[in-house]
């Protein structure tokens, strides 16, 4: 049980950190700089936000399978594969919601802080900090999406006891076995984890 909980936190935690580090700056750049094909990129992002996780799982599975382009990594049925899938699921959410949070900051503010001497990078970090609550919401939404996700981790992880079994896949398994009590308890643990994590994420809002 403890093993399942810590693996769940590890996989989704690492995936969330990677998606945040890549996605938040990308989202800001997309909102602040002149980007080519911005409309198309936004359309792809919004579609990505609604992408069925199981389809992501399938794609990752194909790439990581022995014949796949990345088969040599040997990641299939390991936590690395699960993290990869979750990063792909989380990224469009982080980028898309960060972009919209940054776009909601009054554009006139950019001019005013440039007048105070901000370089383009300093403009980006200041605007991100002004959009803080929207950026935190983006991270929270992404976390909710990946920690509750079952299709992709099932496919690429394989739900192997002691190595790739996480809370959601364990719930599926216990339900199939008819152990509803245990399945429900696992569901309760999942909810509690999300609640506690969101509590800490929301503290980032006020500094």
């Amino acid at each position: 049980m403890l093993e399942i909980i810590s693996l769940t936190l590890f996989v989704s935690g690492v995936a969330l950190i990677i998606a945040t580090i890549i996605g938040v700056p990308l989202g800001a750049v997309l909102a602040l700089r002149r980007v080519m094909f911005k409309k198309i990129i936004t359309l792809i992002l919004y579609t990505g936000m609604g992408l069925p996780p199981v389809v992501v799982g399938l794609a990752v599975y194909i790439f990581l399978s022995r014949e796949g382009a990345l088969g040599w990594l040997g990641w299939l049925f390991t936590p690395s594969a699960m993290i990869t899938a979750q990063v792909i699921i989380a990224l469009p959410i982080v980028i898309g919601l960060t972009t919209s949070a940054v776009e909601n900051v009054n554009p006139e503010l950019r001019l005013q802080i440039r007048s105070l001497g901000a370089t383009p990078n300093q403009v980006m970090w200041t605007i991100l900090s002004e959009a803080r609550s929207g950026v935190v919401a983006a991270i929270v939404a992404a976390f909710g999406g990946i920690i509750s996700e079952v299709g992709a981790v099932m496919l690429v992880g394989g739900n192997i006891e002691g190595s790739t079994r996480v809370l959601t896949t364990a719930i599926v398994l216990e339900t199939r076995k008819g152990d509803f009590g245990l399945a429900l308890a696992l569901g309760g643990v999942l909810l509690t984890l999300t609640l506690v994590t969101n509590f800490f994420l929301l503290r980032l809002n006020k500094r």
């Binding site: 503010l109 001019l111 105070l116 200041t126």
Partner: protein
């Protein structure tokens, strides 16, 4: 006298409509130059160009002989905007912001400036909680703390009561006379221009109609439109 800014053949368009057309203008180091003119004349646009926040559609603006001044030069210029936007942080952090950008935090200097604009009691407050007039004074403070060589002021007393208007006017005068700061003051208020400036320009429909020493501008205007504007007869 040395020329700090030189504008030649400046034209600026928004969506194909020209809003600024200045053939030749020089701004001297250390002067306090006021620009007056009706709403929509292009005054704020001129300040954005002088701060290198936007490039003109055509023509060249030189600052210290450079058409594209590097960061250390543009950082000598700062604007107090007509509608200042503060950060969702404390008053102290707002005033400190520009120093932080330069890695030059200095609490003492920040506190002094906040006191100078009469807001010492608010240093720890959230900037969001300030009134319009208080915000405007913080916007002036966050510019002054940088010890700028050039201060561009866009209606800096528009939201203030008479007491604070005279406080801010005396700060503007001090900056110009004691620190030698070059100041461009945009104002609707011709009396303020008369009180503070050494030179005044009238802007109408994107053009500088008349530029002259304050005394000449008010007492012997060359252009009929200047006389009408000064006498408050101009209808706009």
């Amino acid at each position: 006298m040395t020329t700090l800014f030189h504008l030649s053949h400046i034209r600026h368009n928004y969506n194909g409509r020209f809003v600024l057309d200045i053939d030749d203008l020089a701004i001297q180091r250390g002067e306090l130059f006021a620009i007056v003119g009706p709403s929509g004349a292009g005054k704020s646009t001129l300040l954005r160009l002088l701060n290198f926040l936007e490039s003109p559609s055509a023509g060249i603006i030189r600052y210290k002989d450079q058409a594209t001044p590097p960061l250390d030069l543009t950082r000598q210029i700062t604007t107090v905007f007509q509608h200042p936007i503060l950060l969702h942080r404390s008053v102290h952090e707002n005033v400190e912001y520009g120093l932080r950008l330069r890695d030059q935090r200095n609490d003492k200097q920040v506190d002094e400036i906040i006191a100078r604009v009469g807001l010492a009691a608010f240093a720890a407050s959230a900037a969001d909680s300030l009134s319009g007039g208080e915000r405007q004074r913080i916007a002036l403070a966050r510019a002054l703390v940088l010890n700028p060589e050039v201060l561009l002021l866009d209606e800096p007393t528009a939201n203030l009561d008479p007491h604070n208007v005279s406080l801010i006017e005396s700060i503007i005068r001090e900056e110009n006379e004691q620190r030698g700061t070059t100041i461009l003051l945009v104002t609707h208020n011709v009396f303020q221009a008369k009180r503070l400036a050494q030179r005044v320009g009238l802007m109408l429909n994107g053009k500088l109609i008349e530029v002259g020493a304050t005394k000449d501008f008010f007492e012997n205007p060359k252009d009929e439109r200047t006389r009408k504007f000064v006498d408050g007869e101009m209808i706009y």
